[in-house]
Amino acid sequence: MPKFPKDTEHLARMAALFLAGLTLFVIARALLVPKDFHELGHFRTGALADNMARPVAFAGREACAACHPDVVDERQGSRHAVIACEACHGALAKHAEDPGSLKPARPDPRTLCLVCHREDVASPKTFKQVNPQTHMGGQACISCHKPHHPEMT
């Protein structure tokens, strides 16, 4: 049994002050800290949903293939078959949702091919690279190559 001093009034006062402080702290904490904080870790669980909520800009190749199976067939067997449509045609989630709302722009054939195929020593040696001056002498790529199936036959 611990020995309590006879005069305990100052202790009671301190305890009351402490309790009041604690209550204030608990109330402030309950008001300020979001309800979903620290459920899964030191963060708001709702932040996961916030991050999920952003609209998608690129529809994905499956969405393109659903309406354009002809292009999928055209690309069959080509080296370009693995490239996603939106890699060249741009972000088209809006078009996939409502085809009338956004008509995809035709990529510029004079610049598009060279985005990937312009000669650079840092590109892998196995990758097809051209010097636009010596390879085609100012001609457009599409006069010989079809972008969806670029192999010469």
Binding site: P5, F43, R54, V56, F58, A84, E86, A87, A91, A122
Partner: protein, 254 residues
Amino acid sequence: MGIDRREFLTHTGKYLLLTSAAALAWDFLKVGTPEAAPNYTLQDHWWGFAIDIEKCIGCGNCVRACKTENDVPLEPYYFRTWVERYHVPNGNIEHPEVDSPNGGYGGFPARYEPGDGSKNFFVPKLCNHCAHSPCTQVCPVGATFDSPDGVVLVDKTYCLGCRYCVQACPYGCRFIDPRTMTVDKCSLCYHRITKGLTTACCETCPTGARMLGDLKNPKDPIHAFLRTHKVQVLKPQMATGAKAYYNGLDGSVR
């Protein structure tokens, strides 16, 4: 009449213990059940990333797609992902020349001549989504965190813009969005991967140099990639538990 030091310390200790116990109990009382995300279970995924340097052609498609998908400020040039070009003269891996004009947004203008005895290659960079991320550990408010599925995310409504995390990231993957003055970084396209899509950069990479992978899904092709390639993470000495695995990573890459 008095209270000696021993008693005082004993009582104070008891009060402190009781208070901390009460605070802990309060935390447990407040915990609810996490909201169920439709068709996506956090516990079923553990996201990682694989990059094949030997396939990267430096076209910049990933950089452009990322900016479009995630509304990254076009100018000034901030990036969630960017591409670096390495020029290693005569095998001098201690002193590589690195350039990344506008992060590779407009591609890479020809700069080096072939046949000068140097080694040249492109290295795409993005958040490594570390399992033990230094950036989340320093956040004073819990605004950036490791999600249970292995993605390092930012809570934009909670971020103070204090920049501790920007300094803590050893890979330089974070920036302050000048419009909101809050931190921004690669979210691994969390809004896409939770819907079953791949990231915007993987979607638009023409050579398959970038690969999103679910390390918890045994059927994911990333396992075959990690098995059949000699992979390395960036700055392994930092012990960050980085989950962006590079194939063909040269010693000169910082």
